[in-house]
């Protein structure tokens, strides 16, 4: 046509692109076309603007950038002709989305087009507005759209109705304006208008409670009538699909009735009959019919209770579930999941079928079915259901195993009736899918095992067997290695044999073999290897005959490139070699891990449930909740002084299991004061000398009972060894010296440091407080203060409470006082130990304010004072 026009026709461009053999060729063609289009845009070419935009749309669909064409859309929309506008609006919808600012520029053109005399142009504008309008545009153009709801041509009315949906979704405030016009649309005969009107009505009800109330009152009966007419209508070829007149309208009406009926008994009542009719009369041999039934079931489930209808609905779902068509089964599972909240019993009846669906070849169905099964589990059916699921675990797809394992573990944990069952099932899961088991899950398993003392032997043997057959599953290896380390003696001696198990003969070297293989496995990660090393250390004492061999294995890691392994290797080697006398005490079986604490820990990571864990945590006066198992944590982890209540259960158990690796240790050390060895020794001592249950208070006890204190500490320095299972670098190096004797002889804490004179910190007419000071070696900043109160009056003090405050550069740690009543006339004392850390050590002296409250003859007495006479250099 135009001899001067450059560029190709749209058809030719598409052909050229399709002819490209490689992506590079295609890019070259597209680049050339884009260059030509840009040139045309720069020249403001009028004749081929719409062709260029069409090309750009195609290029856009291929995924190339086309932003430079956005303004062209606006120009085309602004031009007067229909063809230009048509392509312009199409480009607008494809190339732009509601976030682009260019869109604002088009508002005016759209407004003009909405008022155009040509109804097709009005239609184009409505369509574009409905698909991409932003909140601002919605506000600006809502009045136009509202007016078009009454347009003479039904095709414009329906477009305006859908456009209104977009508008009220963007700006729910505008909903009120649409209520009245929509009520008129619901009375229309034209199906397109009716469908869109019903949809708009549904959306209005969702965003506006007033609208819901209005339509419920005014329109429910009319809608029921419309649906009845539709259901009973004669054959209408224009709307017929598989023998049903307009299933789309059916579905939309049912959806709206659902919204109206939910939560309103009267409205629900008025639609019962028609729902029953739809549920019974609809043909279910074609997809369209099933779609209606499906919608009808959902409506029945959602509206107010009508027993008969619900039975009908559940029966339909049962039929769906046994359908051969996968689509139908999928939607049945979907719907049963919602029905379970309405009628769990009825859903339970289909359990067997649902369980079959978990094993379906179709991933979508499997996923839905698994979710449903998870909801179906209760105490009474947990055993058979778990068995099915665990059995299926063996043959399931790799990509489904993750989901399935998580669900199975969660079911087992939640509903396990007894420990042996729990352990059995978990072992099965570990054997089948140990790689998919999350850390928390096997940590929890270890806690349970450690608590089930009668099952130790059984468990360790079962794990041994499992590990012999498969060593591929990481978490199985970890649990097994841990158990063998702890209960290796039971494995060899066959102690605690249950009736159900076959006896096996395991020699000591077999047990060592299997742990060794765990270390040697290339696939084992650092945690597993570290755990295996600890297990070996433990076995070295359990099996003296293998001690030599174990030492050799441990020594092999002396040169490991992984610092953690190297360190463990060196430390363990020196324990085995140089500290025979204390080794057995060091590697004693781990104290029972407190289930409640662990559970509380897990729960306490949840802010909302902190209160539930308070039953297990002992509240100390310093305001730190210290779970009773905390000393155990100290036993294994130097750095875990005051366990932060917010740390997750995983950390906690990792500490217990000795798998805490350096980065994790450091990350939790934010509010910790550096600790020196003595404290740990005390903690260790407290483990050894007092029952584990009440040792949360043992540390202060030992400290405060002044006269015993020193000899105990003195005798303890050699006991420092167990703490070497830890890696906190600051303390570990300190300990290394102690242990290896490389440095000077270990300083005895009791003799260490200058002695400080005792002071009378506070004295009033009725009360005296004296402070004794001691320092820990290697940690000059921290002062241990032991205070003792003496009653100078002749009356008994009760409800004695001591409080202390320090300035910011000090950190104060108060231990519980030895009592809360103080006998008269110096016949007894209350001791109170404090630990003060001076961050400005050497620059500022200690200073403290105190407040003492007590009752004399039922009267409250409050004494306050400031202590300024601390010895310098504290």
């Amino acid at each position: 046509m135009n001899p001067f026009s450059s560029g190709t026709r749209l058809r030719d461009m598409i052909r050229a692109i399709r002819a490209c053999k490689t992506a590079a060729e295609e890019r070259a063609v597209v680049r050339k076309e884009c260059a030509a289009i840009r040139a045309a845009i720069n020249e403001n070419d009028q004749d081929y603007r719409h062709r260029n935009l069409a090309k750009l749309m195609f290029i856009h669909m291929l995924g190339y950038p086309t932003h430079f064409g956005q303004m062209e859309c606006l120009k085309l929309i602004a031009s007067p002709g229909f063809p230009e506008k048509r392509i312009g609006y199409l480009g607008l919808m494809l190339l732009l989305d509601e976030r682009q600012e260019v869109l604002m520029l088009v508002t005016n053109s759209v407004k003009q087009d909405l008022n155009h005399t040509n109804q097709y142009i009005v239609g184009l504008a409505l369509c574009a507005l409905g698909n991409i309008c932003s909140a601002e545009m919605a506000r600006d153009l809502a009045p136009e759209v509202e007016r078009l709801l009454q347009f003479r041509d039904p095709n414009i009315r329906k477009k305006a109705a859908l456009c209104s949906i977009r508008i009220i979704k963007k700006v729910p405030d505008l909903a009120e304006n649409f209520i009245n016009p929509v009520a008129a649309l619901l009375k229309e005969k034209h199906h397109g208008v009716l469908i869109t009107g019903v949809q708009l009505c549904t959306d209005l009800c969702k965003v506006s409670p007033e609208a819901l109330e209005y339509f419920r009152k005014k329109c429910t009966d009319g809608l029921v009538r419309t649906l009845r007419d539709l259901v009973n209508s004669p054959y209408a070829p224009e709307y017929d699909i598989a023998g049903i007149t307009d299933p789309f309208l059916h579905i939309r009406l049912l959806k709206l009735l659902r919204v109206l009926g939910r939560g309103d008994a009267d409205a629900s009542d008025s639609m019962n009959d028609i729902l029953a009719q739809v549920a019974t009369k609809t043909e279910s041999n074609k997809n369209a019919g099933n779609a209606i039934l499906y919608e009808c079931v959902e409506t029945i489930m959602s509206i107010e209770d009508n027993g008969g209808l619900r039975v009908l609905a559940i029966n339909i779902l049962g039929r769906f579930l046994s359908n051969r068509d996968n689509n139908i089964r999928y939607v049945a599972l979907n719907m049963l999941m919602r029905a379970i909240t309405v009628d769990a019993q009825a859903v339970q009846r289909h359990r067997a079928t649902i369980l079959e669906c978990v094993k379906d070849s179709d991933a979508s169905i499997r996923k839905r079915a698994l979710e449903l099964v998870y909801l179906l589990v209760n105490e009474s059916n947990v055993k058979p259901l778990t068995k099915e699921l665990v059995d299926y675990l063996e043959v399931s797809d790799q990509d489904f195993k993750g989901d399935l394992t998580a669900k199975v573990c969660s079911i087992i944990e939640k509903f396990s009736p007894e420990k042996s069952w729990y352990i059995d099932q978990m072992l099965k899961v570990l054997t089948e899918a140990g790689n998919f088991v999350k850390d928390e899950v096997w940590h929890a398993l270890v806690v349970v095992i450690s608590n089930a003392s009668d099952l130790h032997g059984y468990t360790v043997r079962a794990l041994f067997r499992a590990l012999q057959t498969t060593a591929e599953q990481e978490s199985l290896v970890r649990v097994a290695v841990w158990c063998i380390g702890e209960y290796g003696d039971l494995l060899v001696s066959n102690a605690g044999m249950l009736n159900v198990e076959d006896p096996i003969t395991v020699t000591e070297s077999d047990a060592v073999d299997i742990v060794e293989s765990a270390i040697k496995r290339h696939a084992s990660d650092l945690t597993t290897k570290s755990m295996a090393l600890i297990a070996l250390l433990k076995l070295s004492s359990r099996f003296p005959s293998c001690s030599r061999r174990i030492k050799d294995i441990v020594v092999q890691h002396k040169g490991s490139l992984v610092l953690e392994l190297q360190q463990r290797s060196l430390e363990f080697n020196s324990i085995i070699e140089k500290h025979q006398n204390i080794r057995s005490a060091l590697v004693e079986r781990m104290p029972v891990l407190d289930e409640a604490t662990f559970g509380g820990r897990r729960a306490s990571s949840l802010p909302n449930t902190v209160s539930t864990s308070s039953g297990t945590a002992v509240k100390l006066p310093n305001g730190v909740a210290k779970p009773s198992a905390a000393p155990l944590v100290d036993l294994l982890d130097l750095s875990d002084d005051v366990p932060a209540p917010s740390s997750s259960g995983g950390d906690f158990l990792q500490d217990l299991l000795g798998v805490n690796l350096p980065p994790a240790t450091q990350s939790e050390g934010t509010n910790q004061t550096p600790k020196a060895g003595t404290d740990v020794l005390l903690d260790l001592l407290s483990i050894g000398s007092t029952p584990a249950q009440d040792n949360n208070l043992s540390t202060p006890d030992i400290l405060s009972s002044g006269q015993d204190n020193k000899p105990i500490i003195a005798s303890l320095d050699v006991l420092a060894a167990p703490s070497l299972t830890h890696t906190t670098s600051s303390t570990a190096s300190n300990m290394m010296d102690l242990l290896d004797g490389l440095g000077p002889a270990p300083p005895k804490p009791a003799e260490n440091g200058p002695a400080y004179p005792s002071i009378v910190a506070f004295e009033s007419s009725s009360l005296r407080l004296t402070f004794n000071f001691s320092k820990q070696p290697g940690n000059p900043q921290t002062t241990m203060i032991s205070g003792s109160f003496t009653n100078l009056s002749s009356n008994l003090f009760t409800d004695f409470v001591f409080q202390a405050a320090v300035p910011k550069f000090l950190q104060l740690h108060l231990d519980p006082a030895s009592g809360n009543s103080l006998p008269a006339s110096g016949n007894g004392t209350i001791t109170q130990s404090l630990k003060v850390t001076n961050s400005q050590h050497g620059k500022k002296p200690l200073v403290m304010r105190l407040r003492i409250a007590y009752k004399v003859d039922g009267k409250d007495v409050l004494e306050e004072g400031q202590i300024n006479n601390f010895p310098r250099d504290l």
Partner: protein, 243 residues
Amino acid sequence: QKQYTRPNQLEEQVAFSFERLFLFFSEQNRDLRSDYSSPWTPVARTRNRRCLQSASIVNHEPHILIILRHYDLNGVILLVTSQIHFVCLISRQGKVRLTKWYSTYTQKERSKAIRELSGVILSRGPKLCNFVDWKGYKVVYKRYASLYFCMCIDDEDNELEALEVIHHFVEILDRYFGSVCELDLIFNFHKAYYILDELLIAGELQESSKKTVAKLISAQDSLVEVAKEEASSISNIIAQATK
């Protein structure tokens, strides 16, 4: 940025309870969180709209989440959205033949979605069901010859109906092109878009009658023809005049 401006107490409650729910999710045992991550998306989305009340979140049972996905105790529907989010046609080779987005997605999200979906859908066997769970939505697809017609709908929507809508679209295309094939849709992609625009607006069905759609399209096509003829006749006149 708030999408609505009616600050009332209910909304604050909603926001509060969602926070709690979210905390619950993120702090609760992790397996649960990952399992339910998919329903999360719609729930989180709903936060910006307005809907439920706080009461139903107090319970920490996992199944409450399922209830939450549907309605709260007062029967207010939780998921306000219920629409088609996008439609796309993907060839068996994974080439995109048509895409139409009814919800807001960035260009990046769009290509990511298409890439992911074509990976999932094209690899599914012929006998499997036509639904795929995808990020808390459902994608309903159906294969016609070498083309996959996909439609992304909300979790609450009727999948069977979506299949029916797809079929409806295909029948209209078929009627318009006369036994439609992939090439028709490649070379006349704009026509396919015009037809789709007569069928769906704002992710909702607009017309259940194939005849009406065909009538509207042909009316608009003839408008274009008339305009073209006029243009060419004018250019002819000019051409003749300048000779």
